[in-house]
């Protein structure tokens, strides 16, 4: 297939379109408005992209699968491995299971102002989890592990709420989390941490 004539055809096409665009009468104020709009949109996109690439401001996005129907057979999400754990490198990982109608373990305690990694799975249907007034927000899709890294700036007692319709008991689906001042929090007793995230 010959490239040159195709390249020429497209170059001519683009030149034609530009000429036609210029021939359309656009009021000079509307032209200014279009420029302003593009600049404002560019500002928002710019801030978002820079924060995404250079400051790690991203939504939860690790694509990792799991068999939600057999969690009890899964080493990482076995009941005695759930909740708050500290791994050998000092990273705090919290493993939670969502299922109709609560989050398990139903009460956990974590330190404020510290980087935390949550790993959520569903044992049944679609759930969403949000800790109000924080950025701990993620969907929990059966078949996938939802991993999210975040920090809680303010100590306090927070509810952990399900925010995706998961059945007639959805209103009652919630648990508790205590955010404790960094200096007052004690890591749970060390036990061999099984499975899961390779923290970046």
């Amino acid at each position: 297939m010959q490239i040159e004539p195709i390249k020429q055809k497209y170059a001519l096409l683009i030149r034609d379109v530009c000429k036609q665009l210029q021939a359309i009468h656009i009021d000079q104020l509307e032209r200014k408005w279009i420029t302003i709009s593009i600049l404002v949109i560019g500002l928002f996109v710019g801030i978002i992209v820079i924060d995404a690439f250079f400051h790690g401001v991203n939504p939860p996005s690790k694509v990792e699968t799991i068999d939600s129907a057999s969690l009890h057979l899964n080493e990482e999400f076995a009941e005695d491995n759930l909740g708050v754990q500290v791994d050998d490198k000092g990273n705090i990982i919290i493993r939670m299971v969502a299922g109709r109608y609560s989050f398990f373990p139903k009460h956990i305690a974590i330190p404020a102002e510290t980087k935390l990694t949550f790993r959520w799975v569903s044992m049944d249907v679609l759930h969403g989890v949000h800790i109000p007034m924080t950025n701990m927000s993620t969907m929990i899709v059966p078949g996938y592990v939802a991993e999210i890294t975040t920090t809680f700036p303010k100590p306090g007692e927070y509810p952990v709420l399900c925010n995706e319709y998961c059945g007639l008991g959805h209103n009652h689906m919630w648990s508790n989390i205590s955010v404790i001042a960094k200096e007052d929090w004690n890591a749970p007793a060390k036990s061999p941490v099984k499975g899961g995230s390779n923290n970046e």
């Binding site: 009021d27 104020l29 200014k32 408005w33 302003i36 404002v40 924080t134 809680f152 700036p153």
Partner: protein, 44 residues
């Protein structure tokens, strides 16, 4: 309204629309920056 005035109106740039839209978009920029830097990022 005579023909001359009519023509002038139809040919003149829409300064009122431009002013209104500029205020609106300015407000949106301020509100977005407030939400992003004042609410979202401080929540961790």
């Amino acid at each position: 309204m005579n023909e001359e005035d009519r023509k002038r109106i139809l040919e003149s740039p829409p300064v009122g629309a431009f002013a209104l839209m500029s205020v609106v978009i300015g407000g949106m920029v301020v509100a977005w920056l407030f939400l992003y830097y004042g609410v979202f990022l401080p929540r961790g």
